[in-house]
Each structure stands twice: as C-alpha cells, then as structure tokens.
C-alpha cells in the first residue's frame, strides 16, 4: 500500500508541473480560443533561461541557506519574466494578425512557431540533452508510510502557491477583471473601455510566465533538460487543461494533478508503455461524457 502512496506522491509532483503549464493553455484558450501549440516550447525555454541564469550566478552544485533562497527566487522570477516576454512577442507577431482568420490558420502558425522555437533551442545548446544543476538539497521526509523528497514537496507547493496567486489576481484585481471580461465577451469589453489588445497580451504574459516557472521547476526536479521536452509535456498539459475544464483555472490545476496521477498509477499498476495511451484515452472518455471538463468550462458566450 505504501507503494501506491509513494506513486501518488510521484504523480502529484509530475502533476504540479503539468498544472503550471496547463494554466497557460487554459488562460489563452479561454480568452482567444486558440490552442497555443508553442506553449510547451515556452516551458522548455523556461528551463533554458533558468540554466543560463544559474550559470551567471555561479550556482553549479547544491546550495544552502540564504544563497539558496536568493538563487531560487532570482532564477524563478527572471525565468518567468523572460518566458512571459517570449509569450507576448509570439502573440504580437504571430497570432494577433490572425485573430479573425479561420480557426485553422493560427493553429498552424502556432505549430510553426513551435518548430522555430525548438530549432532556436538547438542552436543555443545543441540537439543533445543537457544537465541542470542540482541546486536543491534533497533530504527525504517520512510522512507515515510515504517518503516525500524535498524536491517533490518544492514542486507541489510552488504549483499550488502560484495557482492561488493567479486565482487571486484574476478575481481580485482590476486587470484580472479585464481579463475575465475580455474572455467572456470581447466586444462588450471593448465597449466598456478595456484595452483588449493589452489584456490579451497580459494573458499571454502570465500564461507564459507560468510555463517558465514550470520550466525552472522541471530543471530542478529532473536535473536535465532537452530541446524536445516541450512537445510531450505540452500535449499532456493541454490534455490536463481540457480535462479540468477549459478556461477554468482551478480546473487546470485539478486536471494537471489528475494527469500526473494517472500516469504514475498506470506505470505502477499496468506498465510504463501504456501511460501515454491511458492519459489520452481518459481525455477521450471525459470529453465524450462530460465535454465541458470536470469543473466546467469558462468560455466566451456565443450569440
């Protein structure tokens, strides 16, 4: 039984990363109904940025005490900001001109952007996987029958904290209200004096920043990164967003953790090679019987 409990912890940690990426997908889809295929690659870029920043800070091994905290905070924040900017740039250059084009056009563009980002990362660090400094000390804490590693706790806690911050931002601030309004009805929002373009850009910034955070976290958690990571992670995170309910922030979080759990438990109970298939099969089943996702969707109302 403790083995299952252990796998649940594994699943939650993995799910935390998916959740952070899923938040970006769900926010962007919620506001302009675009499946941003390049989002997964922004996640990988987040890891690459973190790698560069840690390099500048001279952090190559395990860190302790105040330096650890400084390094984590500085890297996390900078990685988020840089990733957010990448998201804004992509939106401005590649998606905004196509806002009124047939649905497929921005989709194909997003895929094209994904390819471009991947190739840029190949230029940056080559086509091979690379190591990421293990800056976090990793003692294991025993809680009952379960061993939870500090790294896993870090991932889960950070994901939840960021989600709470995001939820507060969206529900309690004026900018957040602008985002919700634009998501609900773009024309009405414009009539209310909201700068729709800026609001959409902000949405991309936040979503991409969260992907960047996921990138930093994944680097610390796995100790490696690779230009191609974004593809699979992005696909599953997108599944998570849909599972939880597109446009719904809590849904993305729930979906992310759920997908992480499904993967881990499938690996344990069945076999690793079926984990992807089970995740996608779950997606199909949920969409057939509950198309709005587990927590219901939050999308622009259609006339």
């Amino acid at each position: 039984m403790s083995l299952i409990a252990q796998q649940i912890v594994n699943g939650l940690a993995l799910g935390g990363i998916y959740a952070l990426i899923a938040l970006g997908y769900t926010m962007v889809f919620g506001i302009i109904e675009l499946i941003n295929f390049a989002h997964g690659d922004v996640y990988t870029l987040g890891t690459f940025f973190s790698l560069a920043i840690l390099g500048l800070l001279g952090a190559t091994g395990e860190l302790h005490g105040p330096f650890l905290i400084v390094a984590v905070v500085v890297t996390l924040v900078l990685a988020m900001v840089l990733s957010g900017l990448v998201g804004v740039i992509i939106e401005r250059l590649a998606y905004r001109p196509l806002r009124n084009a047939p649905r497929l056009a921005p989709l194909i563009t997003a895929i094209g952007v994904s390819f471009i980002l991947q190739n840029l990362m190949i230029y940056w660090h080559g086509p091979s996987p690379l190591p990421f400094p293990q800056i976090l000390p990793n003692p294991t804490y025993a809680i009952g029958p379960v061993q939870i590693a500090a790294k896993q706790a870090f991932v889960i806690v950070l994901a939840v904290v960021l989600m709470i911050v995001l939820q507060l931002f969206v529900t309690k601030t004026k900018l957040g209200a602008a985002m919700r309004a634009t998501a609900q009805d773009r024309d009405a929002a414009r009539l209310m004096g909201i700068d729709v373009n800026a609001t959409i850009a902000l949405t991309f910034f936040i979503g991409s920043a969260l992907a960047g955070a996921a990138g930093f976290v994944s680097g610390v958690y796995y100790g490696t990164t690779w230009f191609f990571n974004g593809f699979a992670a992005g696909l599953k995170a997108f599944t998570a967003a849909v599972l939880g309910g597109i446009g719904n922030i809590a849904g993305a979080m729930l979906g992310g953790f759920a997908i992480g759990l499904v993967e881990s438990l499938t690996t344990q109970l069945l076999s690793d090679q079926w984990s992807n298939i089970v995740v996608f099969a779950l997606l199909v089943v949920v969409l057939i019987f509950r198309p709005t996702g587990l927590l219901g969707e939050s999308l622009p109302t259609k006339a």
């Binding site: 109904e33 499946i35 194909i108 952007v113 994904s114 996608f280 997606l283 969409l287």
Partner: protein, 343 residues
C-alpha cells in the same frame, strides 16, 4: 459554365491536360529519385484529399489524421505479408483497406459527434496519439518498433512490380484521379451540400432536417477511406510499415497542405500537398545545395530544417491564411470575419 466549342468544359480540359502531362512526365524526366519523390508525394496527395473531405468540406477539425494512414498501412501489412501468412492481392487490398479505414473512421468519429469545434480537434488529436502508440505496443501483431517488412509487391496480370518506380507511379496517378473524381462528385452532391450546411451552422442545418449524425459520420468514413488507399499504395511501394511513420508531425503536415493550398478547394489541396512534400523531401534536404547554386555561398543548413519549415508555415499563414487557391465560399466566410473592426 462556359463550354468550349467542342463542348468540353474548360475545367475538364485543364484536368485532362494535367493528367496527360503527369502521365508522360516520368518518360521524359529520367531521374529515378524525382519520380520516386512524386510517387511518395502522391500518397500524401491522397491523404490530403481525404482530410479535405473531413476538414475542408464538412468543417470537422481533425488533428489526428495520421491514425487513419496507420490503419490503412497496417491493414496491408497484416493481410499481404509473411506476418500471418495471408496474402491478399494488392488490388483487392485497395478496396478492403479503404473499407477498414472507413469503418475506423466511423468508430473514431462516433464519440465526437456531440462535440463542438475545438473539442473535436482535441479528441482527434488524442486518437492520433493512441492509434500509432497502440500499434507500437502490440509487437505480436504489428512487429512493435520494428514494424512489418517484406510486404507483398503488387502483381498485375503476372507482372510483378519489382523495384522499378514506374508502375507504382502510374498506380498512384490512377488512384489520385479516382480520388479527385470521387471528391468532386461528393462535393457537388446532396451530401456535399449537407456538409456545407453543418459547417456553416449546425443548429440551423438540424432544423432544416439534415441528419447531422449520419452526415458527420459519412464525412469521417469517406475521408478515412482515402487514407486506406494511400496506406496500401505507400506500404506496397516501401514494402515496410513501422510506427515511426505516423507521428503527430504527419498529421500536422497533412493539415498544413490543406491550409496552404486552400481548404475545400480540390486543386488547391493537391497544390498544397505537392508544395509541402517538396519542401520536406526535396527542398529542405537540398537547401544547402540550392543556396549554393543560387548565391554561390556555402551555408550548412542541416541544423536548421525545423526553423525553415516553421518559418514557412508561419509566414504563409500570416500572409495568406485562406490558402493559395481559396474556396470561394471560404473566402466569403473569411471576409465576413475581417469586416468586423479590429479592436
């Protein structure tokens, strides 16, 4: 439609001319590699025409079309090879695999009937991942990652196709002509108009008495059947099928062909298909040599294929999202969209 003096409609005349040119091309161009490329590209033309029925005609966004390609190819691999000792002749397999693919089209399309737009896309994306990975995970049936090899070569009245590319080329040409004729007839039929109706306003279509269920299923089935043809022809030519050939990137490529060429427009789809195939298999691999030939500068582009491919997709969509040869209706739909003031 204006008719020429002899009573042959101009479109038909153009079509016949292209067929004639395509037929004599390999006899004039003595480059085996190029004719081979055209044959492979031909399979993708079939796939694009099939997807065009689903996405272009019926407006059902399918992001996992490679799954049907896989089904068609593996059907041939399992029923015309040493794998199970079954050797159904190529010509019969063309029909049989089409039927099997169509059946799967219905099976995989059925769950999506109630879903709107993008959810449909996601489910099809899911299937696009599930199908090839399942084939990968069942080695006793499908050979696993090694795939199945030594597939039967077609035999035509005693003549075995062998390694000469010409017979495969002509078979592919015939299949394409067949597919175009079928697609045109579908487009102009009552079913075709039903597709337009559900594409533009499903609710209204239902109220006019169109059975949206059967209409959508028909789109999936017919679209998938084309991939059955493509799978058989491609598999017979390569004599090998393996799961690596059906990744998500293949679905993306076929979709790109539609979007680039002009969704819904049959000629556009063929054009888009050949352009993307050329890009992937002819231009990009030779990009360094091409640039050298044009500008006499040696640039090593082998590390940049993804970048170039992605840039082309992005630029095309930014500059001409309705495609090179847009469908008249679609163009109207697009302009209705841009008539709204930009925020």
């Amino acid at each position: 439609m204006r008719k020429l003096a002899r009573g042959v409609p101009p479109k038909l005349a153009r079509g016949l001319l292209f067929i004639a040119l395509a037929a004599i091309l390999p006899l004039v161009v003595h480059d085996g590699g190029f004719v081979n490329f055209l044959t492979d590209a031909g399979a993708y033309v079939l796939l694009a025409l099939g997807l065009n029925i689903v996405v272009g005609f019926a407006g059902l966004l399918d992001l996992g079309y490679a799954a049907f390609f896989a089904i068609g190819s593996y059907a041939y691999a399992m029923l015309a090879s040493p794998q199970f000792g079954i050797h159904i002749p190529f010509w019969i397999m063309l029909f049989l695999a089409s039927g099997i693919a169509a059946l799967f089209g219905i099976l995989l399309g059925a769950p999506t009937l109630r879903l709107r737009g993008d959810y449909l896309a996601i489910v099809t994306l899911g299937f696009g991942e599930i199908v090839p990975q399942t084939f990968l995970n069942l080695p006793q049936w499908t050979g696993g990652p090694n795939g199945l090899g030594n597939l039967d070569q077609p035999v035509f009245f005693g003549y075995r196709f062998g390694f000469n590319i010409l017979p495969y080329y002509y078979v592919m040409l015939v299949l394409i002509v067949l597919a175009v004729v079928v697609a045109q007839n579908l487009r102009d039929s009552r079913l075709g108009r039903a597709w337009i109706a559900i594409r533009e306003d499903e609710l209204a279509a239902k109220h006019v008495g169109i059975n949206t269920t059967t209409t959508k299923l028909a789109a999936f089935a017919l679209g998938a059947s084309f991939s059955g043809l493509a799978g058989v022809a491609y598999g017979a030519k390569l004599q090998l099928v393996s799961p690596d050939q059906f990744q998500f990137s293949v679905s993306v490529a076929i979709l790109s062909m539609l979007v680039l060429g002009g969704m819904g427009n049959i000629t556009g789809v063929i054009l888009g298909s050949i352009l993307i195939s050329s890009l992937d298999r002819l231009i990009l691999p030779q990009a360094s040599n091409l640039i050298f030939a044009l500008a006499h500068v040696r640039v090593d582009l082998s590390n940049s294929r993804f970048l170039i491919y992605g840039a082309i997709l992005v630029l095309t969509m930014l500059l001409r999202p309705e495609g090179l040869l847009p469908n008249r209706r679609r163009r109207a739909e697009l302009h209705a969209g841009t008539a709204e003031a930009m925020p």
